[in-house]
C-alpha cells in the first residue's frame, strides 16, 4: 500500500506505451535499414520461448544452420520465458520496435493488427508451407490471407489420473456427459475430488463454456459469430445451460474460485500432478506443466490418461470438433524478406521433426507428426488431426476485449452469479463496443 502501487497501478499500463512515444509503429525500421536482395547483410531478430534444454540449444542450432545456408544473414536469437515474452511483445507493439520473427497467437488480436497494417502477409511467399499445413492455419487467416504459420498446435481435453479412476471403479473414459456425471459420482463416493479447475485465472473455467458452445453450435454459426460478433443464436445460451448442470454437480476442487491454473503445487495442474484430484480440462501443454510441478520432474508419469471433451445429448456441433490453439511465427510488416524465408525454414519437415523429437510441442507439419513419442500426446494428436474443426480458443478468436468480457462472465457463473443469458449478454455488450 505504498507509493509503488501508484507506480504500478496508474502508470504500468501507460508508461510502457509512453516510452515508445508517437513513433509510427508501422513505418519504423528496427533492424536499422535492413533491405532485401541477395548479397546484402541482414540481421534478423527472433524472439522465442524455448528457454530451457533441449529446446534452446535446438533453436540455436536451427538459427546457425539457416545462417550457414544463407550467407549475409545473421540471426539474433532471444530466448525468453513464455509470460515474459508475451509482455515484451505487447510492449514492442506499443513502442513500434518489433523483432523480425515473433510468436503470434492469431484470432481477433491478429485481425486488429492486420487492420492497422502492422503484420506481413505471408500468403504468397509461404504458399508451399500453407498448402502443407492445411486447416491448421485457419486461426491465422484474415479475409483469406495468411499472416502467420502455426508451428505447434494442440487441442484441449481431459487429462486424468488412471490410478484414481481405477480406484473409484471408473473403467472407461467418459464419452458423453451422462457417462461423465456417473464418473463424477463414483469418484466422489470414493472420497476423491473429481475435477480441478483454475477458475482464479478465469480462462481455465471459460474453456468449459467454449467447449459446450462447440458441442451445441454448428460450425456455420461459430464462423459467423467470429466474423460478425453476433451471439444471438440460442446455442450460446444452451452452452451456458450445460455448464450450469456441471457446476450444480459440484465436481470441482475445494476453493476452485481462487485456484490458479498452473502456478505452484496448489494450482489446478498441481493438484492433478500430485494426485489430489482425478482430472483436469487442459491443453497439450499439461504433461509439461505437471512435470514442472512435481519434485521428481515426472508429473503423473505413466498414470497419465487423456480423453476428449464428452458429447452432449442432441448437440448440433460436429462430435469430432475440438477446442484448441497453437503458436505461430509471424513477421511485422516492415521485416525484411529473409524473415519470411526463415519462417518457411522453421516449418520445414527437417526443423519440425527435430522440434517433435525434442518434445517442444505438437508439430503442425504432417510429415513430422510421427516423431511425437509420448503416448498420451500421440492420442491427442490423433484427435486433432481427425477433427472436423479445431476451434481457436474463443478469447483469442474474438480478441482480448470481447474474450476478456466473456471470461469474466463465465467466471461469474462458476461463482453462482451469472445465468446462461448473462454470459451471452456480457459478451454481446463487449462485442457491440468493438463495432
Amino acid at each position: 500500500m505504498k507509493k509503488q502501487i501508484l507506480a504500478l497501478a496508474a502508470v504500468a499500463s501507460l508508461a510502457l506505451a509512453a516510452c515508445g512515444g508517437d513513433a509510427p509503429a508501422a513505418t519504423s525500421d528496427p533492424t536499422g535499414g535492413a533491405t532485401t536482395g541477395a548479397g546484402e547483410n541482414v540481421t534478423l531478430r527472433w524472439w522465442h520461448n524455448s528457454n530451457n534444454s533441449p529446446g534452446k540449444e535446438y533453436y540455436d542450432k536451427v538459427a546457425a544452420d539457416f545462417e550457414a545456408d544463407n550467407p549475409g544473414v545473421t540471426i539474433e536469437v532471444t530466448a525468453m520465458q513464455h509470460e515474459d515474452m508475451g509482455t515484451k511483445i505487447e510492449a514492442a507493439w506499443q513502442a513500434g520496435d518489433m523483432p523480425d520473427i515473433y510468436m503470434e497467437r492469431g484470432g481477433g488480436e491478429l485481425a486488429a493488427k492486420v487492420e492497422a497494417g502492422l503484420v506481413k502477409d505471408l500468403t504468397e511467399p509461404s504458399a508451399e508451407a500453407i498448402e502443407k499445413l492445411g486447416g491448421s492455419v485457419a486461426g491465422w487467416q484474415v479475409d483469406g490471407k495468411t499472416y502467420a504459420l502455426p508451428f505447434s498446435m494442440g487441442v484441449v481435453g481431459f487429462w486424468y489420473n488412471t490410478e484414481l479412476f481405477e480406484k473409484a471403479g471408473v473403467t472407461e473414459a467418459p464419452e458423453t456427459w451422462t457417462d461423465m456425471f456417473a464418473a463424477i459420482d463414483k469418484l466422489k463416493a470414493a472420497g476423491i475430488e473429481p475435477i480441478a479447475v483454475g477458475a482464479g485465472d478465469k480462462w481455465p473455467a471459460a474453456h468449459y463454456w467454449y467447449y459446450f458452445a462447440l458441442r451445441e453450435c454448428t460450425g456455420d454459426v461459430l464462423d459467423e459469430a467470429v466474423k460478425t460478433l453476433d451471439f444471438s443464436d440460442q446455442c450460446f445460451v444452451r452452452a451456458g445451460e450445460q455448464l450450469e448442470k456441471v457446476i450444480a454437480a459440484e465436481p470441482f476442487n475445494a476453493g476452485f474460485l481462487t485456484t490458479p491454473a498452473q502456478a505452484g503445487p496448489t494450482s489446478a495442474s498441481g493438484l492433478l500432478a500430485t494426485g489430489k484430484v482425478a482430472m483436469e480440462l487442459a491443453g497439450h501443454w499439461e504433461p509439461g506443466v505437471m512435470q514442472g510441478l512435481t519434485e521428481d520432474g515426472k508429473g503423473l508419469g505413466d498414470k497419465t490418461g487423456w480423453f476428449a471433451f464428452p458429447q452432449t445429448e442432441g448437440q448440433q456441433g460436429d462430435p469430432s470438433s475440438a477446442l484448441g490453439g497453437g503458436d505461430a511465427w509471424g513477421a511485422p510488416a516492415d521485416a525484411p524478406d529473409q524473415a519470411v524465408d526463415f519462417i518457411n525454414y522453421l516449418l520445414s519437415d527437417e526443423v519440425q521433426t527435430g522440434f517433435a523429437e525434442n518434445d517442444m510441442g505438437l508439430p503442425t507439419n504432417p510429415n513430422a507428426t510421427s516423431a511425437v513419442s509420448d503416448p498420451a500426446l500421440a492420442d491427442l494428436l490423433k484427435v486433432r488431426d481427425s477433427a472436423a474443426r479445431v476451434q481457436l480458443y474463443f478469447d483469442t478468436a474474438f480478441g482480448q476485449a470481447v474474450g476478456g468480457a466473456m471470461n469474466d462472465a463465465i467466471a461469474l457463473m462458476f461463482a453462482g452469479q451469472a445465468s446462461p443469458q448473462d454470459i451471452v449478454d456480457a459478451t454481446q455488450e463487449a462485442a457491440d463496443a468493438e463495432k
Binding site: 500500500m1 505504498k2 509503488q4 502501487i5 501508484l6 504500478l8 497501478a9 496508474a10 502508470v11 504500468a12 499500463s13 501507460l14 508508461a15 506505451a17 509512453a18 508517437d22 509510427p24 509503429a25 508501422a26 505487447e90 507493439w93 506499443q94 488480436e109 486488429a112 493488427k113 492497422a116 502492422l118 477458475a199 482464479g200 485465472d201 475445494a254 476453493g255 476452485f256 474460485l257 481462487t258 496448489t266 489430489k276 480478441g399 482480448q400 476485449a401 476478456g404 468480457a405 467466471a411 461469474l412 461463482a415 453462482g416 452469479q417 463496443a433
Partner: protein, 334 residues
C-alpha cells in the same frame, strides 16, 4: 564577467558593486549580479537531472494517461479513434468499477477503524520499560518489511481451503472453514483481505506511533503522576492528544495507500471471486493488460488519480492543517 569577479581586491570590488546597485534596489539584500546568475546556473544544474527524470517518469506518463483516456486504443498502432469522454462515461457507469470504488472506501475506513486503536494500544504497551523490548518491536515490524508479493503468496497458501494451515487449525478445534475457502467465498473475501492487510501494515502504524511517543515530554507524565493521575488517565489525557500529529499523518498515508491498493489483492484473489474484492487499481489493470482496453484503463487511472488527489487535498485542508496552524502563530510571535 570573469574579469570583474576575479581581478580586483575583494574589498574594493564589493564596494563598487554595492554602491552602484544600492540606488536601484532596496539596500536590505546585497545583490551581486554575477553570483545571482551563478546561483541560477547552479540551481538548474543540480535540479535538472531530477526534474528531467520527474518529467519523464511522472509528468509525461500522466499526460499520456489523459491522452489515452480520450481514445479507443488497443495497445498498438497510432491513436486515431478519438472518443472524447466516452471512456469516462463507460467507466463511471460500470458496476464493477463502482463496486471497486466501494471496496476502496471500505478499506480506507476499515484500515483506520481497525489499525488505529490496535496500533495505539500496542505502541503504548511497547513504550513501557520491559524485558525483550527490542525483540518485541522487531517482531511487530517484521510483516511490514516483507515484500508485499511474498506476504501475499504466504497468506494465499495459509488460506488454502482443506489443505491450508488455517483450515487445519480450525479443524483441530472442531470448526470448519467455508467450502470455497475464506478467499473464495464472496461474502468473506474482502474481510479476509482486510485481515491480511492489517497484519501487514500494523507494524508501520506501531513504529510511527512509537516514534511519536518519543516526542511526548517525560515531565508531563511526571507532573500528571504528582497530581495523582493513573497510568490510563495519563495516556488518555496527555499522551494520546500529544500523539495527534503522528496519528493524523499515519491516517493520511493509510488513506492514500488504501485508495491505491493493488498488489495484495492481485496476489490473493485477482479481484475475485465474482468481483468481491476488485479495487480501482485491479480494475484498471484488468481492463488494460487483460482486455487491451487501454483507453478505458486510462480513464480509470485518471479517475483514480482525481479521487486520490481530491481526498488528499481535503484531508490536508481540514485535518492536517490543524498541525500546521499550531506551528504558525509561534513563528510569528518570535
Amino acid at each position: 564577467m570573469s574579469q570583474t569577479t576575479a581581478a580586483p581586491p575583494k574589498g574594493a570590488s564589493e564596494g563598487v558593486v554595492e554602491g552602484g546597485r544600492s540606488e536601484e534596489r532596496p539596500p536590505v539584500t546585497r545583490p551581486r549580479k554575477p553570483r545571482d546568475w551563478k546561483m541560477v546556473v547552479e540551481i538548474i544544474a543540480f535540479t535538472a537531472p531530477a526534474l528531467i527524470l520527474f518529467a519523464m517518469f511522472v509528468v509525461w506518463p500522466m499526460l499520456k494517461a489523459v491522452q489515452f483516456s480520450l481514445f479507443r486504443w488497443k495497445g498498438f498502432g497510432p491513436l486515431v479513434d478519438f472518443v472524447g469522454l466516452k471512456n469516462y462515461i463507460s467507466v463511471l457507469s460500470n458496476d464493477v468499477f463502482i463496486g471497486a470504488l466501494g471496496h476502496n472506501l471500505f478499506i480506507v475506513v476499515a484500515s483506520i477503524v481497525i489499525q488505529l486503536p490496535l496500533g495505539i494500544a500496542i505502541a503504548l504497551l511497547l513504550n513501557r520499560k520491559m524485558r525483550f523490548q527490542g525483540i518485541l518491536r522487531t517482531v511487530v515490524f517484521v510483516p511490514y518489511v516483507l515484500a508485499e508479493v511474498i506476504a501475499g503468496v504466504v497468506w494465499f497458501q495459509l488460506l488454502q481451503p482443506k489443505y491450508g494451515v488455517i483450515d487445519s487449525m480450525l479443524a483441530v478445534v472442531g470448526l470448519q472453514g467455508p467450502p470455497q475457502g475464506f478467499l473464495g467465498t464472496p461474502e468473506y473475501a474482502l474481510w479476509t483481505v482486510m485481515v491480511v492487510i492489517t497484519w501487514k501494515y500494523l507494524g508501520l502504524a506501531i513504529i510511527l506511533f512509537l516514534a511519536g511517543l518519543q516526542g511526548v515530554p517525560e515531565e508531563l507524565h511526571e507532573a500528571a503522576q504528582i497530581d495523582g493521575a493513573s497510568w490510563w488517565q495519563t495516556q488518555w489525557h496527555i499522551t494520546i492528544p500529544l500523539l495527534g500529529p503522528t496519528l493524523r499523518t499515519w491516517a493520511f498515508l493509510s488513506m492514500v495507500g488504501s485508495l491505491q491498493l493493488f498488489d495484495m489483492v492481485w496476489i490473493l484473489t485477482k479481484g475475485g471471486p465474482a468481483n468481491a474484492t476488485t479495487t480501482m487499481a485491479t480494475f484498471l489493470i484488468n481492463e488494460g493488460t487483460k482486455r487491451s482496453n487501454y483507453g478505458i484503463a486510462g480513464a480509470a487511472s485518471v479517475i483514480l488519480f482525481v479521487i486520490a488527489l481530491t481526498m488528499a487535498l481535503l484531508y490536508q485542508r481540514f485535518v492536517l492543517r490543524r498541525d500546521h496552524a499550531t506551528d504558525e502563530p509561534k513563528e510569528k510571535s518570535r
